[in-house]
Symmetry: D2
Subunit: 335 residues, 4 copies
C-alpha cells in the first residue's frame, strides 16, 4: 500500500527500504535533502516538505513519522495535522512519551484524524531482520495498516513456537502486537527499553568481574586470565544467559577484547527514565532497572559533588585522606 | 570413551544419557538405588558404591561428579580420592565454590590425581540442547577429556558465526571452553549465574510494570490492559531483548498469564552470592547483580525487622500509622 | 503578628499553638469543627469557613495552609484566592510538589497576591523543639513574615556553632532559611525527605543484620545474641552514626525490642518519589535514595508478580521448585 | 590502672592521652620511635619493642593494640602472645574482622591468655568527645577492664535519657557496651560502619540533587541556586535529618561550599565490605548498604570496562555513538 515516511535517518531510511522491498509505495521527506534524494534514487517518491508529502498521497493517507522524540516529532505531527484531511492517519514510530501520545491522539481525534503509536525495536539490524512492533491505537485503524506492519515485522522465522499459543492473536508470532489504545504501544516499548538497560548492565557487571580477575591488585594466587571474548562466545550455546545482546557482545569482544575503542560514557534516552517514573507511579519496586539507569548517569561523570562530599565527611570525622589516583584499593581478601 | 558418573539427579542422569546416546560407556552410581537402576536399564553399568564404580573403570579413570555443592560433593570427592590410582581424574560438574576447587586440586595433586572443574549450564533442556561447559584444570587433562566435553556441548548449531573468530579456539564455538587452571571453570560459571539473576530480575521488574498498569489503584485514564503473554511472545522476534530466558518466559505466560501456579518465594544458590563477594574482593561495583540477589532474599520474607523499624521510626517522629494491609498506595500522579 | 491558620491536624494545630505561645494572634479554621473549637479554647479566634477567616484578618493578610498536599491544598488555596485582597499572602506549609508551587505562585501573582512555600520539618516534636523551616518566595514577603518564621523555628539552641559561618545569613542558625523563589522551599524539603528515607533505611538494614545474627538458620558457632536496644543506645554517644533518628530508634527499641507492635508495611509520601524524579531530571545517580524508596514499596507487598515470574523462569529452565514457606535459606557459609 | 598501648597513630595516640588525662598509667610502643617519644614526653612510659612493653607491665597485664587490621595487627598479637604470661589480656581496639577475633581468641585461650575485641568509634574527635566502645569477650575480663572502658567512653553527657531504660545495663548509657563473646564487639562495629556508609551516601546524594538544580543543562525555569552550606546548617536544628554527620557536613561546606579541596576518590575499609558479606550469609536484603559501598568503588574509577561494554553493545545494535565528554545529558523534562 501507499505510505508517507518522514525522517530518513538510520531507522526511518531502512523502514522505507524494507517497505519498498516488499512492494509498498513510499513518499518520503527529510529536512536533509540528500537523505530524501538518496531514498528517491532507491525508488521512493521525494517530497520537499510535509505539505508536499501529504499532497502526494491519496486519501485516506498514512504517514509514518520516524524522528527524535520531543519537539522535533511534535513539530512534524503539527505540520501533518495542518495538511491532512479527515480519516488520515499519523503513525509515530519513534520513541515518544506515551502520555504525549494520549494527548496527541485526543487532539487529532478532534480534527477527525487518527493517531497510531508504534514502538519499533530492531536498530540497525531491522532492515534485514525486521522490526519488532508494539502498536497503540484504534482497532480499525491498526487493522487498516496491517499490510505495513506485516511487512516491517520479522515474521515467525525459525523461532520455535510457544506451546499453548494456538488460540491467540497470530500477529504476535509474526513479531507485531496491537497493545491497546493510544500510547500503549510506546508504553510497552518504554518498558522494553527499561528492561534492555537492565539486561545490558547485568552483562556489563558480570564481564567486569571476569576481567578484573586478572588485576595485579589481587593477590597472585587469586588471579585468572580469562578470555572474555571466548566467554561471550561460549555462552551463546546452550547456556541460560544466551540472548541477542550476548551475540552482539561476542561480536564486539571478538573485534576488540579490551574495548579500547570505547570511552564508556553511556548515553540514555527518555525511555529508561520514564520506565522508572512509571514504576514509581505504580509503587512498583524496580531496583535493577533503576540501578542500570544510574550506572549510565554515573558513567558520564567524573568524580561528582556527591563523591567529594563523602571525602569531606571522612576528612572531618577521621582525618582520612582520599584514595590516591589510580589506586583501585583491591584489598587482600582473607578467605 | 569410558567415564564414571556419580549423582544421577536431573542433571547427572541426563548427562549420562547424552554421553551414552553418543556411544560413550558410562559406569554410574547414585545413593538412590532406583536412580542407578534406571540408568542401568538405559545401558549404563550400575555401581553400588563409589569404590565399586572406581573398580569398574579402566585406568586412567575419569569420573564426573554431579552432586549438590558443599558437603555432599566433598564426601564424594574424598571417597574417589581414596579409591583412585595416580593419573585418574575427578571432574566436578556441579556448582562448587571456585576456592574449594583450588584447594581440592592441590590435595588431589599431592596424591598424583587430577581435578577438573566444569561449570555446566543448560538445566533440564541440556540433554536435548547440549550443555554449555566452562572448564578449569590442567591443559593435558582437559585435552584427554575432549571427547566427553565435545559430546556434552551443544555444538555450533545454527547460531550465526561471530566475525573475527576464525583464528580463535574452535572448541568455544562448539559450546565448551577451557577457561584456565583449577577453579576457573566454576569461577566463570559463578559469574554466569550472577548475570542470570540480573537478567531474570530485569525481565521480572519490566513485566511487573506492564501488569501493574491495569491496577485499579491507578486513575482510570492512566490504565492499560496489556496482555503480558503476548508481549513476551512479540519481543522474541526482532527486539533487542530477545533471549532464551524470554523464550521460557513466553512459555510460562502462555500457559498461565497470571502465574498463579507460583507463590513467588525465589530460592538462590551459592553462585549468586559468591558473585557479589568476588565483586567486593575486586572493588568492582555491581549494583544490578546485588539488587537481583537481594530481591530473591526479600521474596522469601514477609515484612522484615527492617520494615518494622521503619514503621517504628515514622511513628516516633511523626505519629504516623502504618499503611493498612492490602493498600498498594499508588498515588494519583500529577503529570 | 496576626496570622490565619487553615488545617488543624497534628502539624497545623501545634503550629498555631507555638505561635500563640509566643503572643501571635491566630485566626483558625478546619473542616472538622471540633478541631477549630479546641484551638479556640486555647486562645485562637475560630472561623467557620475560609471566607470567614479571611474576613476576620486585617489586610495585608497572611494565612498559613497546613493541609495534605494535592487536591485538598489546591481547594483551600483557591478559596483563599477568591476571598483575599491584593498584597495578601498565602503560605503553603504542607508538603506540596514544588512545580505546583511555581504554577500557583504565578496564578496568585496575576491577582496581586503573594505565595510563599514552606517546607516544615519537625513532626509531632515540633511544638516543643521548634520546626526547621525551608522557605521559598519573594524576598520582601518572606521578610514581612519574619516574626512568624522566627517563632516557629527552633532557634540556635545548644547546638555548637559551625566555624566560618560568622558572615552568613543569621536566620539559618536559628533554624529557618529563605531558599530562593517560589517552590524552592518545598524543593529543599523534598530532598530533605528523600535523604530521610535513605538514612532510615540504612539504620533499618544495619539493625536487621544485627538481629538476624542470632538466627537458628545460621550455624551455631556463627551466631551472636546482640541486644539491639542497647546497640541503639550506645551509638548515641560518641559514635559516627549518632543522630536524632537514632535517638528515636533507641526510644522505640527500649519500649519494644522486637518491634512486635508494628507490622512493617511502610507508607511513603510524595516527596520520596519526587526526589527520585528530580534526580532523573538532573541525570544524577541516586542509588541509595531510590533503593530506600523501593524498600518501602516492597514492604507493602506480599510476593509480587515479579517474584512469581522469577519462580516461573527457574521452573522452566531448571525444573526448580520454589523455596518452601518460612525457609529463609540461610546457607552454611564457608569462610 | 596500668595499660600498654601499641600503635600510636591518630587513634592510638589519643586513646593513650585520654587514658593518661584520667590518671591511668600507660606504657606505649610504636614502630615509629618519634611517636613513642612524643607520648613519653606527655607522661607515658616508652617501650622500644613489644617484648619490652610486656616486661614493663605488671601481671596480669592488659595491652591495647590499635593498629591497621590484617597482617600488622596479626603480627603484634603474635608478638604479645609470645611475651605474655597466663591471664594477661590482649585488647584489639582496631577494625579487625570478627571471624579473625574468634580464631585468635581460641588461640590465646589455648595459652591461658584472654582476648577482647573493641570496636572504637569517634575518629579524631574521640580524645575530646570520648569513644563509643563496642566490646566482645569474656564477662570477667571485660569487667576487669572496666576502668579503662569507662574512661575512654564519652559518658552520659547531656544527651536526653531514653525512657524505659531504667532497668537496663547502665554502662550502655555511658557509651560502652559489652556486646557478647569474642568477635561480637567488632561485629557490631562492622555493622556500625556499614550503616555509616549508608548515611553518608544518603546525604551525599541529596546534596548532589540540590547542587545540580542550578545546572545550566536544566531549562532556565527549572533551576534554583540553592546555598548548600546554608541547607546543611538549617537542617541541624529541628529537622528529622539532624545528626553528627550533618554537623560535620555543615563544617565542611561552610569552609568550602564547592568542596573543591577534594577530588572525590573515596576509600573504603574492610568493614563496609564485610557488612555486605554478613548480610549475604544471613540472606538479609541490604540494598542501601550495598549501593553505598558500590558508590565508593565507583568513585575511584574512571570509566570502567563495564561502561565500555555498554557503549559497545549500543554501537552494535543501534549504531549509537557515545555521549561526548562533558555532556551531562540532562534532558528537557516534560512535566
Amino acid at each position: 500500500m501507499q505510505i508517507g515516511v518522514i525522517g530518513l535517518g538510520r531507522m526511518g531510511g531502512n523502514i522505507a527500504r524494507r517497505l519498498m522491498d516488499a512492494g509498498h509505495d513510499c513518499v518520503v521527506h527529510d529536512v536533509d535533502k540528500a537523505a530524501t534524494e538518496r531514498l528517491a534514487g532507491e525508488g521512493a517518491t521525494a517530497a520537499g516538505s510535509v505539505a508536499e508529502l501529504v499532497a502526494s498521497l491519496t486519501a485516506p493517507r498514512a504517514v509514518w513519522v520516524m524522528l527524535p522524540e520531543g519537539e522535533i516529532t511534535a513539530k512534524a505531527v503539527a505540520a501533518l495535522t495542518e495538511a491532512m484531511s479527515p480519516d488520515d492517519v499519523v503513525i509515530d514510530g519513534g520513541n515518544s512519551f506515551y502520555k504525549d501520545d494520549i494527548r496527541r491522539a485526543g487532539e487529532l481525534k478532534a480534527k477527525g484524524l487518527h493517531y497510531v503509536d508504534v514502538g519499533t525495536s530492531g536498530g540497525v539490524w531491522g532492515r534485514e531482520r525486521g522490526y519488532c512492533l508494539m502498536i497503540g491505537g484504534e482497532t480499525t485503524v491498526v487493522e487498516r495498516l496491517d499490510p505495513i506492519f506485516k511487512t516491517l515485522a520479522p515474521g515467525a522465522g525459525e523461532i520455535p513456537p510457544t506451546p499453548g499459543r494456538e488460540a491467540r492473536d497470530p500477529r504476535v508470532t509474526q513479531g507485531y502486537m496491537h497493545c491497546g489504545p493510544a500510547g500503549s504501544g510506546h508504553f510497552v516499548k518504554m518498558v522494553h527499553n527499561g528492561i534492555e538497560y537492565g539486561l545490558m548492565q547485568a552483562y556489563a557487571e558480570g564481564f567486569d568481574i571476569l576481567r578484573n580477575k586478572s588485576s595485579k591488585d589481587l593477590p597472585e594466587d587469586r588471579r585468572y586470565e580469562i578470555d572474555v571474548a571466548d566467554v561471550a562466545e561460549v555462552w551463546r550455546r546452550g547456556s541460560v544467559v544466551s540472548s541477542w545482546l550476548l551475540d552482539l557482545t561476542a561480536n564486539a569482544l571478538a573485534a576488540d577484547p579490551a574495548l579500547d575503542g570505547f570511552e564508556g560514557r553511556v548515553a540514555d534516552s527518555g525511555e529508561g527514565r520514564w520506565t522508572i517514573e512509571a514504576a514509581i507511579e505504580e509503587a512498583a519496586p524496580t531496583p535493577v532497572l533503576a540501578a542500570a539507569l544510574f550506572a549510565r548517569f554515573r558513567s558520564r561523570q567524573d568524580q561528582s559533588f556527591a563523591d567529594r562530599m563523602l571525602s569531606a565527611m571522612r576528612f572531618q570525622f577521621g582525618g582520612h585522606a582520599e584514595a590516591p589516583k589510580g589506586v583501585g584499593e583491591i584489598k587482600k581478601a582473607r578467605t
